[in-house]
Subunit: 230 residues, 2 copies
Amino acid sequence: MTGATRRGRSAQGRAEVRRDLVAAAVTLFRERGYEDTTVDDIAAAAGVGRRTFFRYFRSKEDAVSPDHETALARAAEVFETAHATEPAAALALRAGETVFDIYTDDPHLSVERYRLTHDVPVLRDRESASIDHYRRLFTRYLRGRFADDPDGDLRAAVIGAAVVAAHNLALRAWLAAGAPEDGMEACRLRFRRVAEMLPGEPAHTNGLHAVTRRLEQAVVRLERTTPPAQ
Amino acid sequence: MTGATRRGRSAQGRAEVRRDLVAAAVTLFRERGYEDTTVDDIAAAAGVGRRTFFRYFRSKEDAVSPDHETALARAAEVFETAHATEPAAALALRAGETVFDIYTDDPHLSVERYRLTHDVPVLRDRESASIDHYRRLFTRYLRGRFADDPDGDLRAAVIGAAVVAAHNLALRAWLAAGAPEDGMEACRLRFRRVAEMLPGEPAHTNGLHAVTRRLEQAVVRLERTTPPAQ
DNA sequence: AAGCGTAACGGCACTGCGTGCCATGATTCA
DNA sequence: TGAATCATGGCACGCAGTGCCGTTACGCTT
């Protein structure tokens, strides 16, 4: 298919060109290296003009992780449409799922992207910045939730950073293992374990110790008067 | 001072040129905007050639935060020379101090830099990547510490991300307030409060939940057979 | 004091990214 | 069939970053 025959394509054609460009970029980056691959090379490999490449991607780096904006928007939608009574932890899980979806769509391509972002410093830094967008989004939401707490800002920052880091750890472990189909459940479980490590509600955390003490005393008191059942 | 008279300067001269370039860059970025300022403009404002700019900074962005490598190296030295018995929290505080030092050296310039990284998306993303270097450094160290723990990786990721986020929150709050001299102590205190929100030793944390569960079950069991005391 | 090696500099040319502009060809709709 | 629209390719341009080279100032030796 020459460039001429591709002119004036439909929306379906656009999606196809986009896929071709991503595939060409990822392949060339891994074969020749990121720095030694020019946009001309990518465009030529995909059978389009150089100018067209920049109509699909804002930059050369964008061809590696072009779905970031979409994923971020979806995650933002989760927070915006969330009911105020939904626990923050559950919300984080739901938002995390929307991000997972982006990767499970095409596991093989996701692994290639992961390797690139792992090996090429420029792409690694770019991904750090992308991930920080999620952190900011989540932290901003939490800050609103914790507005009444005395250390609300700090709690929001800590929990936001921790959850995003855990999400990323789980995701990267899955990708590093080659993104096996039966590994996504372990990935999800791993992500969920972050909840155990988070500081709970301040009143709740402090209360937890108090409750523990109170229960211990109650048990001691009761067991002193009554033999345990069974 | 013309370019000709500046040739063949000493090491002291180099530091001076470096300062001039940073000052020129920060000033111009804030006056005309980052995108509308070229490297030629910066070099001309500092009285040196364009080629010389790139002998002092790897990129245009580097002129805004040129001390990142130094700060990262100092923080790394803290971890490398740390004794194995020093608590991780104390270590984080010490490493955080070395980073604070970079900013307290020239508070006014630090504020200008903060505003730039706050306003210009490109610089913001770049700073996200820089901060992530600290996170990776700290997380890597913690992973070694928690190597024996079952969820060591996750704990390292969570604590590393949380501590760096807290450090950044405190630092940015201080900078946003104009970096007052008497505000650094509040900044330090704020940073230290992160320790209260961190997950403790896994045995401790899990134990707390386990104890709670066990006690609750005991109470239910006992209350089923015996009317509550009092 | 003269000479020499070194270090820093400025200028030039080049590659490559990203963008504005415009003509061209395909598609869709009236 | 003709007009409007959309996507494309090509061209030119500005700017970032790099390699190369000639030049100049400094420090050190003799």
